[in-house]
């Protein structure tokens, strides 16, 4: 069972090795001449003001929360999709009820203007 997934891990290692080897080869060829201005964060040529990790809008968190609900829902759909033909009408109706509940949630978020980007 696990043997089927060996490729997954090894492909990741191959990709990482490719980057590491190319960077190592490059380090023999490329110039190295750092100074303070070159290493400063880019701010259109000005001296940077304050920290780069700025505060961002609360909206991002709300979208992340709504995303979580729907993403988990899709995980439930995958196993159901495979066996739908064996389950027949009963399986379909059950899943439609489940989806209906989520649609209610989506409509609620929509009406509460959660989905509006400001």
């Amino acid at each position: 069972m696990v043997i089927n997934y060996l490729e997954v891990g090894i492909f990741a290692l191959v990709a990482v090795a490719f980057v590491a080897i190319t960077l190592a080869i490059g380090s023999l060829l490329r110039p190295k001449n750092p100074y303070a201005n070159k290493l400063a964060p880019y701010e259109c040529g000005e001296i940077p003001v304050g920290d780069g990790q700025v505060r961002f809008h609360i909206r991002y968190y709300i979208f992340a929360l709504v995303f979580l609900v729907f993403d988990v829902e899709i995980i439930f759909l995958y196993p159901w999709a495979v066996v739908l033909e064996q389950l027949g009408l009963f399986g379909l109706v059950e899943m439609l009820i489940f989806l209906g509940l989520l649609v209610v949630g989506l409509v609620y978020a929509w009406r509460k203007k959660v989905l509006r980007w400001v």
């Binding site: 043997i3 089927n4 997934y5 060996l6 490729e7 997954v8 090894i10 492909f11 990741a12 290692l13 191959v14 990709a15 990482v16 490719f18 980057v19 190319t22 960077l23 490059g26 380090s27 060829l29 490329r30 110039p31 001449n33 750092p34 070159k38 290493l39 400063a40 964060p41 880019y42 701010e43 940077p48 920290d51 780069g52 990790q53 700025v54 961002f56 991002y60 979208f63 992340a64 995303f67 993403d71 899709i74 995980i75 759909l77 995958y78 999709a81 495979v82 739908l84 033909e85 027949g88 379909l92 439609l96 989520l102 649609v103 989506l106 929509w110 989905l115 509006r116 980007w117 400001v118």
Partner: protein, 348 residues
């Protein structure tokens, strides 16, 4: 057709012979599988890098033609070697890590970007037997691995300690999580029709019935829009909107580290086009006058061209339009498509 089949068969025989010789030495099977996986990984990586070089050239040519200029012309016929020289230049560029950056996260982010860009190709069927590993959870694997790159963007943006990077990373995270849901909904509908999540099984199901493009027009629409947004292509290229965010999450990256993001981006473009071909146009199946692999390549490049054409024709959309399109159009349509597909599967 004959040549490719016999070539694949020959490699298959060699593999089986090697395996039996290996186990006769008393070394466990998984070591052999792992060694072969390294070979497969290097093969797929080489294929990808060649395609990325070609894709970047193609993109510049397509963009040029659309804007009534010739595009790169100088190196080689029609400037075909332009990206090769660009890539060499990137390798010998100075490696700059900003002094205020979080060094280790900054270095790891490109790796987190490129690793899933290669991992995702494990399940792509290039031909009847030309597949690194036909996982039975193929579609789930695709949606799981494709969401890794969000992590890389956040890591890159946050560790750069640069305002443009941070804003770009937050935007791209919001965009990619929003469009992952319609993408997943489209994938589920395809899985329902095929009755399997294995990509090989999906291609075979299309040989039995017909192209899923004809059975799944809504699902295809949702898929292609969500996929374009998921790989940050224009008109959804807000994360690196160069006219407002400099370059978004990779503002502070330069040289080869920046090149890694670029390679991963084009590899993902090729993958999404290949997925569209596999899921909706029958993948490698086609009339026998061309080998299966060439059919796959042809259909994939059809979608690559489509995505480029759309990207260079439409202007970039605003961030509020982006979110409204995702949440108020694609997700309801995706859900309705699942309900319709469910009824269709039960009736037939």
């Amino acid at each position: 057709m004959q040549l490719e089949q016999s070539l694949v068969q020959w490699v298959g025989n060699l593999y089986a012979a090697g395996l039996s010789w290996w186990t006769s030495l008393g070394i466990p099977e998984w070591v052999w599988v792992a060694l072969m996986a390294v070979l497969k990984g290097v093969a797929v990586l080489t294929f990808l890098l060649l395609n990325v070089l070609f894709l970047i050239w193609l993109e510049r040519k397509v963009a040029g033609r659309i804007q009534r200029r010739p595009g790169p012309m100088h190196h080689g016929p029609q400037g075909i070697f332009q990206t090769l020289f660009d890539a060499l230049k990137l390798v010998i560029k100075e490696d700059i890590i900003p002094s205020q950056a979080d060094k280790w996260v900054f270095i790891t982010a490109p790796l987190v970007m490129i690793a899933p860009a290669l991992m995702i190709w494990v399940v792509m069927p290039f031909g009847p037997d030309l597949i690194a590993r036909d996982l039975n959870v193929g579609l789930l694997y695709v949606s799981a691995v494709s969401s890794f790159s969000i992590l890389a963007l956040i890591m890159a943006g946050w560790s750069s300690n640069n305002k443009w990077s941070t804003l770009g990373a937050m935007r791209s995270a919001a965009q990619m999580i929003s469009y992952e849901i319609p993408l997943g909904l489209a994938l589920v509908a395809v899985g329902m029709l095929a009755g399997t999540l294995s990509l090989k099984g999906i291609v075979e199901a299309q040989q039995e019935r017909t192209w899923f493009l004809l059975l799944q027009p809504l699902g295809f629409l949702v898929f292609i829009v969500a996929a374009t947004a998921e790989i940050n292509r224009a008109p959804f290229n807000l994360p690196e909107a160069e006219s407002e965010l400099v370059a978004g999450f990779n503002t502070e990256y330069s040289g080869f580290r920046w090149g890694v993001f670029f390679v991963a981006e084009y590899a993902n473009l090729l993958f999404m086009a290949g997925m569209a071909a596999t899921l909706f146009l029958g993948g490698w199946s086609g009339p026998a006058f061309l080998p299966p692999f060439l059919w796959w390549l042809l259909k994939t490049y059809l979608f690559v061209f489509l995505i480029m054409w759309v990207g260079w024709t439409l202007p970039r959309i605003r961030v509020d339009q982006l979110m409204e399109l995702g949440w108020k159009f694609l997700i309801p349509v995706g859900l309705a498509n699942i309900a319709l597909t469910g009824v269709f599967v039960i009736l037939t």
